[in-house]
């Protein structure tokens, strides 16, 4: 009996120590590369070595889950290249993409919002210097409405409206006269109208969430084409334009910019990572 007790204790001790060993081994391997890339990139950026900083932050973006601070610093690294006079085509767009990513991950990030506004301002200034329109497309109403709330919120609103109409129906059934009956008479049509309005918005928001991705144009400008690559007339999309990305056809990608739709080469767009 004493032998079995000893064996059990030894087994338990081994398991516990193994567990600790596994956790201890896992933790640095999972965390270190992300921290290292971020740290190296930040150090390089502080020293003014923006090329190394860009490489490190891009490596971070390739492999690690997104983090708003890493995206923000990536945006600053591209801006540093612009400010140092080593700008390459699309740097403002790449900076804008990184800052948009930071804002999507942390919507209340004021620094990122300010930096993004400066980038958009610079793009607009450059366009206006070339005699081009600053405003290419206005946002479309359906997207504005759908983006007001999340998909789940629209679903809950529609369900609540349905419940509201049903409650009105109940009041009308139980009370044949009086204030409650009048409330029932009002609730039923109001609830029905709201349910009918919110349901398509829910489905629209769901389609947007599942089938569309956010992206940013990272070339100085891009002309929209049709599915066969034939250029459409109209102003080209500006650098740093926030796009709604859809289907892919060969090397072309369907994009929507405000109320304008078309196809552009997928290499001209950076897809934003939100996870």
């Amino acid at each position: 009996m004493r032998f079995f007790d000893g064996m059990a204790a030894a087994l338990l001790a081994t398991l516990v120590s193994l567990s600790f060993a596994v956790f201890a081994a896992d933790a640095p391997e999972d965390m270190a590369p992300a921290q290292q890339n971020f740290q190296k990139g930040s150090d390089a950026l502080i020293l003014g070595n923006y090329e190394e900083a860009i490489a490190q932050f891009e490596l971070y973006a390739d492999g690690q889950p997104s983090h708003p601070d890493a995206s923000y610093n990536r945006g600053l690294a591209y801006l540093a290249r612009v400010r140092a006079g080593g700008e390459r085509d699309g740097d403002l767009g790449r900076a804008s993409a990184a800052l948009e990513e930071a804002l999507l991950l942390r919507p209340g990030d004021r620094d990122a919002a300010h930096a993004r506004a400066l980038v958009h301002g610079e793009v607009a200034r450059r366009r206006s210097r070339r005699g081009k329109d600053v405003l290419i497309a206005r946002p479309s109403l359906d997207r504005e409405i759908m983006n007001l709330l999340s998909e789940r919120s629209w679903a809950i609103l529609a369900i609540f409206a349905s419940f509201f109409a049903s409650f009105g129906w109940l009041l009308r059934l139980l009370r044949k006269q009086g204030a409650w009956q009048l409330a029932g008479v009002i609730f039923v049509p109001l609830g029905l109208i709201a349910a009918v309005a919110f349901t398509p918005i829910y489905f629209g928001a769901r389609t947007l969430r599942l089938e569309r991705r956010p992206g940013v144009l990272v070339v100085p400008e891009a002309h929209l084409t049709d599915r066969d690559g034939v250029a459409q007339s109209g102003e080209p999309l500006p650098e740093g334009a926030f796009l709604e990305l859809g289907d892919r056809h060969g090397r072309l990608l369907h994009v929507r910019y405000g109320s304008v739709e078309g196809w552009i080469p997928s290499s001209t767009v950076r897809t934003l990572r939100l996870r």
Binding site: D69, D226, G234
Partner: protein, 627 residues
């Protein structure tokens, strides 16, 4: 005119035509449309063909003011005439520019040009396009189809079958055996694309060979060759001039075929996925009739190099094996001056166009001047060298370490990433000399007077992660949403239905309680409970009348007892039953006025009435009575 003179004139004409035909190159240009609208894109197309080796390079067009020209897209073209063991190959390029006019007007585009054997040759045509004001309608540009610009001898030369043609597979060389097929995809002649590999990573070389198979003597020449689209690849022609490659004999479906290599192209996939090369199409001449043939469409499975172990700064597509060397001249320079950094990249693969240079805010790297020598290496792989001549402006004084130039790349043979790097060493940056100092000071002043930095108010970088709560909109599954949406009205519908049913049930129940049959039974029960004989008699009397009403519908209270028996019989009640009912009623009448002693059990009148009431109620269905 004598016959001899006519023959001389004919020979002279023929020779003139021959000389004209023998011109070693042909350069022509066209427009996809001669009339467009403002903002409507159109194409400028240049075709250059060379017949005596070499190939045209550096296509160029000068764009007039008001016309935005982008491009060119360059494609290669080959035309071939063969027969009698000899072949004439014309190689060339087609270059296409996209152009858009910003203003209406008539534009004259100078003739586009190419470099042929070191000399720039212009197309014959000056191009004119009329640009109309925009109507706002969306117009589709016309899709041009390449015309084959080669010129050929007017005489067909049919192949002669050589004497040493193989008869069995054993006679074939190893190369010819690889080209053998069990079945011909088309009769007489066909084209086939053969890749060197079916799998690759993005940027890894795959060599695609175009072969023409034909039965001896079946075709005289090829009049047109259209390249596969290869839209997902960067391509570069490799190998010897196809016209100089010896033809092979092979067996296809047991028959002898000649096989000619038309082209070898090094392909570098530009993206991951299942990539199609597209089909090669040719037109062959057979006894003045054209045969059109299409090749197979090769599908390559392309993936990205692994994400694990990817070095910083790696650009997708940098695949191969490379090494770097660098020189820096001079090693001492005053601040504000420049040094020349020449980096030579040598290796095998699609030599990258960019290197990772140590750009810093105290060093200004200008765009490099590139030179290259790229050709097919041993094993059919593309390689060579490319040099990058950078001019680096030194901004800070002191001993400056220029850092390292790096090129992270993926080696597909070793299946691992490597980083080619070269250290640039240190440069002594002295104080700016007076002239330079004044220049530097001037440029600094100019810089300070120049446009202000628009990003000066950007917040500083972040040195550590601040935790954040990711927004997770997991949404709601449509099925769950629809169930939740429909649940309240469906519940209400069910509730309403139940409400209506309950009301109907209550009304029915009330009706049943008021029925004479029920009341009769109730009255009989009451009679049994009555202790007083008069009360019991009254109850029995009520039970009998209700039973009669239930059986016949007759309100018998209003009928005289003397007439009741007759009326009951007339209404179909059995005579005995009618008599018994009357007898009970008369007994009750008497009992009501002759009260007896109260008793605990049933009164006699109750006992007598019970079978009568039951019989009357049983008679109900037969008589069709009831409430």
């Amino acid at each position: 005119m004598s016959l001899a003179f006519r023959l001389c004139m004919f020979a002279l004409l023929w020779l003139t035509a021959g000389v004209a035909n023998a011109q070693p190159y042909e350069v022509s240009a066209t427009l996809s449309s001669h009339q467009v609208e403002v903002g409507e894109p159109f194409r400028i197309e240049l075709s250059a063909m060379v017949s005596d080796g070499g190939s045209p390079t550096e296509p160029h067009v000068n764009s007039p003011s008001g016309l935005r020209v982008t491009g060119p897209n360059i494609g290669t073209r080959t035309s071939m005439q063969f027969g009698g063991g000899q072949s004439t190959v014309r190689r060339g390029i087609s270059a296409t520019w996209s152009a858009v006019a910003d203003k209406p007007g008539s534009y004259v585009i100078p003739p586009p040009s190419v470099v042929i054997k070191g000399r720039r040759v212009m197309a014959r045509e000056t191009l004119r396009v009329l640009v109309m004001p925009s109507t706002g309608k969306r117009r589709r540009s016309k899709t041009g189809r390449w015309s084959f610009g080669g010129s050929f001898s007017p005489f067909d030369n049919m192949f002669n079958e050589p004497e040493a043609a193989p008869l069995t597979v054993d006679d074939l060389s190893a190369a010819a055996r690889r080209l053998a097929l069990s079945k011909a995809p088309a009769a007489l002649a066909f084209v086939r694309l053969i890749p060197s590999a079916k799998r690759a990573v993005v940027g890894e070389q795959v060599t695609l060979s175009y072969y023409l198979y034909y039965r001896p003597g079946s075709v005289s020449r090829m009049t047109e060759q259209r390249e596969p689209s290869l839209s997902d690849f960067f391509r570069r022609r490799i190998g010897k001039d196809p016209g100089t490659v010896e033809e092979l004999w092979t067996l296809v479906g047991g028959q002898r075929y000649q096989v000619r290599l038309l082209e070898r192209v090094a392909l570098f996939p530009l993206r991951a996925g299942r990539l199609h090369t597209g089909k090669l199409s040719v037109k062959l001449l057979r006894r003045r009739r054209e045969l059109a043939r299409e090749s197979n469409d090769v599908v390559l499975s392309v993936r990205e190099p692994p994400a694990r172990g990817r070095p910083a700064g790696y650009r997708l597509g940098d695949v191969g094996r490379y090494r770097l060397k660098a020189t820096v001249e001079p090693r001492t320079a005053p601040a504000g001056d420049v040094v020349a950094v020449t980096v030579r990249l040598r290796g095998v693969g699609n030599l990258p166009q960019q290197l990772m240079v140590p750009q810093r805010s105290d060093l200004e790297w200008l765009e490099p001047e590139k030179k290259e020598h790229i050709e097919e290496q041993r094993g059919g792989r593309l390689g060579g060298w490319r040099s990058f001549g950078y001019v680096v402006r030194l901004r800070s004084e002191g001993l400056q370490d220029l850092g390292e130039v790096k090129l992270p790349y993926y080696d597909p043979r070793a299946r691992r990433y490597r980083v080619a790097k070269v250290a640039l060493g240190k440069v002594k940056v002295t104080q700016a000399v007076s002239a330079n100092a004044s220049t530097t000071a001037g440029s600094a002043a100019a810089a300070s007077e120049g446009p202000p930095d628009p990003f000066v108010t950007v917040a500083p970088i972040r040195t550590e992660f601040v935790p954040f709560e990711p927004i997770r909109d997991r949404g709601m599954a449509p099925r769950l949403f629809l169930i939740a949406l429909a649940a309240p009205p469906v519940t209400m519908a069910l509730f309403s239905g139940l409400w209506v049913l309950a009301g109907a049930f209550r009304r029915r129940r009330a009706n049943i309680n008021k029925a004479p049959e029920t009341l009769a039974k109730s009255a009989l029960g009451q009679a049994a409970r009555d202790r007083d004989t008069a009360d019991a008699a009254r109850s029995v009397e009520r039970a009998v009348h209700l039973a009669i009403e239930s059986a016949t519908g007759l309100k018998s209270r209003a009928v005289l007892l003397d007439e009741l028996e007759e009326r009951l019989r007339a209404m179909g009640i059995d005579a005995d039953l009618a008599a018994d009912a009357l007898k009970v009623l008369r007994t009750c009448e008497r009992a009501r006025f002759e009260p007896g002693e109260p008793q605990a059990g049933d009164h006699a009148v109750v006992k007598a009435a019970r079978p009568v009431v039951r019989s009357l109620l049983r008679a109900l269905p037969e008589l069709g009575g009831g409430s």
